[in-house]
């Protein structure tokens, strides 16, 4: 691997060991001024551990070996208190899901000001002035007196950037900076990170989102199972990936999915007419007409909080609309209307093995266990997984079990509520592919709710955009 010599942070042969063996091994990389590094990989690939090793906050059970050179100092040899002294001074962290990382009981301004007050030892007044300027840098001057719970996710993210900025450290580590943000917000976050790079800061970003890596440019490292499988200049790596995992990862980007073939829709399965839902005196939506026909995938697209999930629930009869009516194709058992959930672990009883749940379902409806086996084979779910608890298998597998469970009842309508948004790109693509196949084969009608325009565009026959004119940043 080709490591530039003139770097400010270089990592060589970094391994992280737990009691049961190495979890990260042989990682070497470098970050230089003007050349941000992005570590790309799915959860569990070890990318966060690399960042923690650099930051010096690995859990006590873990031990790091190798070399981390930062401005000529060997970080791994430093004592915990020496490493801690770097925090906020030479290394700062942009935490993932910053709205959780802000103290919920403190207004934003003092959370920024305390960096100046206690880390930089400025006076109280100077700290307040400096904090205000940090906040106005991220256009949050109006929000200085707000509590974190009063701010949107995007504002929280900006507040965290202001805090990281206040520290004015040379190295900024951004941990999953776009996790939990809508697509529209991602762009503004990457733009801000790039401006930090332009200001001369070293930037190390951890992400599972290829789009973020692309936008940041610089160098990209791809991690899989604790190893750095591919490392190189961003443009080159994205255009001509060498490792098969990198290829799969890139192919799994919704923007690269094959567009859906147009097919004639069958007869209407379920429809809502003139639907309206109010929260208090504010209408989420009103006069909404929606119709889903057999063999059709209809997408509802919009930012979070726009009521898109409510529409699906109204069609399923799980929620009531304030106005309008729901029409269903007559003479169908309600069991044939099913739902896939956003968070797959929450859709399974946590202490019941998958097998027990499926067995009870088969017995309840007088089905044959062979049906389960057939579907499991079809969805590439191996038999060993059946005896595990929902918490013990991955989100992608679990979502496929959810699909299996629904398919056992021969559904005519499936409401997929953000069903893939929490999955890794590769798993997401897998689930979506199965769903498409099933729709084509069985004429299943699907209502898909998503905040990702690319997903909606690629797979649906029709799209309903609920958030077009709304404020993106709630």
């Amino acid at each position: 691997m080709n490591i530039p010599i003139n770097t400010d942070l270089s990592v060589s042969d970094l391994s992280v060991h737990s009691q049961s063996g190495p979890i990260v091994s042989g990682v070497s990389l470098a970050v230089g001024r003007g050349r941000p590094l992005t570590l790309l990989g799915e959860s569990g690939s070890g990318k966060s551990l690399v960042a923690q090793a650099i930051m010096g906050n690995l859990p006590n059970e873990l031990r790091a070996t190798g070399h981390i050179l930062f401005k000529g100092a060997e970080i791994l040899r430093e004592t915990p208190s020496e490493r801690r002294r770097r925090w906020g001074r030479s290394i700062s962290l942009l935490p993932q899901e910053p709205w959780l990382a802000l103290d919920p009981t403190m207004r934003v301004a003092p959370q920024v000001a305390e960096v100046h007050r206690y880390v930089k030892a400025k006076s109280v007044e100077d700290s307040a002035v400096a904090a205000r300027s940090n906040l106005s840098d991220v256009s949050l001057q109006q929000a200085a007196e707000l509590y974190p719970f009063q701010m949107s996710g995007g504002m929280g993210q900006r507040a965290a950037i202001a805090i990281a900025h206040a520290a004015d450290a040379e190295l900024l580590i951004a941990d999953e900076p776009t996790k939990g943000l809508d697509a529209a917000l991602r762009r503004s976050v990457t733009a801000r990170l790039l401006s930090e790079v332009e200001a001369g800061r070293l930037l190390l970003t951890i992400t599972h989102d290829v789009a973020v890596a692309r936008a940041l440019g610089g160098t990209i490292g791809v991690m899989l199972d604790g190893r750095l499988v591919e490392y190189g200049e961003a443009r080159k790596l994205l255009e001509a990936p060498e490792h098969s995992y990198t290829k799969a990862l890139l192919a799994a980007e919704p923007a690269r999915w094959e567009p859906r073939k147009q097919k004639n829709a069958g007869e209407m399965v379920v429809a809502g007419r003139g639907l309206e839902k109010r929260y208090g005196d504010k209408a989420l939506f009103s006069g909404l007409d929606i119709e889903v026909a057999a063999g059709e995938i209809v997408s509802i697209f919009g930012p979070s909080g726009c009521g898109k999930t409510t529409i699906g629930n109204i069609l399923l009869g799980l929620a009531k609309s304030d106005e309008g009516m729901v029409e269903r194709k007559p003479d169908l058992s309600p069991l044939r209307f099913q739902k896939l959930y956003q968070d797959p672990p929450a859709a399974f009883a946590p202490h019941q093995t998958i097998r027990k749940g499926l067995k009870d379902l088969v017995r309840l409806h007088g089905k044959d266990w062979a049906d389960v086996e057939a579907l499991a084979g079809r969805l590439r779910l191996s038999d060993i997984l059946l005896d595990r608890l929902p918490g013990q298998i991955s989100g992608g597998e679990l979502q496929r079990f959810a699909l299996l469970r629904a398919l056992l009842l021969a559904p005519v309508f499936l409401f997929a509520d953000e069903a893939t948004s929490r999955l890794d790109p590769v798993s997401q693509k897998e689930v979506v592919t199965f769903l498409r196949e099933i729709v084509e084969e069985t004429g299943l009608a699907v209502l898909l709710v998503t905040h990702d325009r690319d997903v909606a565009e690629k797979i649906s026959t029709r799209m309903i955009d609920l958030g077009g004119s709304r404020l993106r940043d709630r």
Binding site: M55, S92, L93, P95, D103, T105, M106, E114, V119
Partner: protein, 312 residues
């Protein structure tokens, strides 16, 4: 804020009427002759109780219909009049003034002492779960919770009054005398609140904002002070509201033990002597104390946790 007050006032009203009605019914259906008991309470066991009971019956109109007596009670309650003690003949409100005051002092002293013990033990335990402080704290909490309050009181009495002669075993009025009963209550309270604090602190120490405060470069004492204490205090304070029950009940036992003339002491006497207005009055006060503590906890939580501001 206005809603909050209205809700608490409503709760206080409901509690008053419910407590009053319940006491009234229970006291009325109790076996035995109320006039006899009242006479015994007034004139002591050496007196000619049967004769005295006849006078009591006439004096208090105990032979009027029950419904009428209850309506009268409700009517006077609406005028904030709790009636007169059947035994001493003085206004219940007047009787309770002294006793309620004494109990409030006792409860407050117990609370303060328990806050000096419990949360501090809990803080050290929670900052390092599994450490020596945590284990010691756990052991202490389990032990003190397993000792019935009256046994604890007796032990303290024997040690501090009899063996060491430092503190009086009974009495009231000065800080010296309040210390033993308050400590008895406080140790029980602290045993529970230390564990709640420990868990709250441990939860806060695990929270992403606590870690982020460290990553900001703040030193550990500043992290704990600025981001730990307030957040950990929120569950502790709401737990204190629950402890009110323990406190109010504990007051009854501890007051009997230490001859402390508070509201709990008054309640036991009033029940034995069938002093219905006093029972109603004390029960009412205890209920209202409970509501008041609840309100105080709400206010404190409101101040500690800006998030609750929206919901109340």
């Amino acid at each position: 804020m206005k809603n909050f007050l209205v809700a608490r006032l409503l709760q206080a009203g409901i509690v008053s009427v419910a407590v009053g009605a319940l006491c009234f019914i229970l006291m009325r259906v109790l076996p035995g002759d109320a006039a006899m008991r009242i006479a015994a309470g007034r004139y002591g066991p050496d007196a000619r109780i049967a004769d005295a009971a006849e006078k009591v019956r006439l004096e208090l109109g105990l032979d009027r219909p029950i419904a009428m007596q209850f309506l009268e009670w409700l009517g006077s309650l609406a005028r904030f009049d709790l009636g007169h003690s059947l035994v001493t003949g003085r206004a219940v409100a007047h009787e309770l003034q002294v006793q309620l005051g004494a109990s409030v002092w006792l409860a407050a002293a117990a609370l303060v002492l328990s806050l000096l013990i419990g949360p501090i033990v809990g803080l050290f335990g929670g900052l390092k779960p599994g450490g020596a402080a945590d284990r010691l704290g756990l052991m202490g909490a389990v032990i003190f919770r397993a000792i019935p309050p009256f046994v604890l009181g007796l032990i303290l009495m024997l040690v501090f009054s009899r063996q060491l002669g430092w503190l009086p075993p009974a009495g009231f009025g000065s800080p010296r005398e309040i210390l033993l009963p308050a400590l008895t209550l406080a140790l029980g309270l602290a045993a529970m609140s230390s564990r709640v604090t420990r868990n709250a602190v441990a939860a806060v120490a695990q929270a992403p904002y606590f870690a982020f405060a460290r990553y900001k470069g703040l030193s550990e004492p500043i992290v704990v002070r600025r981001h730990g204490l307030r957040n950990a205090a929120i569950p502790v304070v709401s737990y204190l509201g629950l402890q009110a029950i323990y406190l109010i009940e504990g007051v009854v036992v501890v007051e009997s033990l230490f001859a402390y003339p508070g509201i709990g002491h008054a309640l036991v006497h009033a029940i034995v002597e069938r002093d219905i207005p006093m029972v109603q009055g004390t029960a009412l006060m205890m209920g209202l104390m409970f509501v008041a503590i609840g309100a105080a906890v709400d206010l404190l939580t409101l101040w500690l946790d800006p998030r609750t501001g929206k919901t109340v």
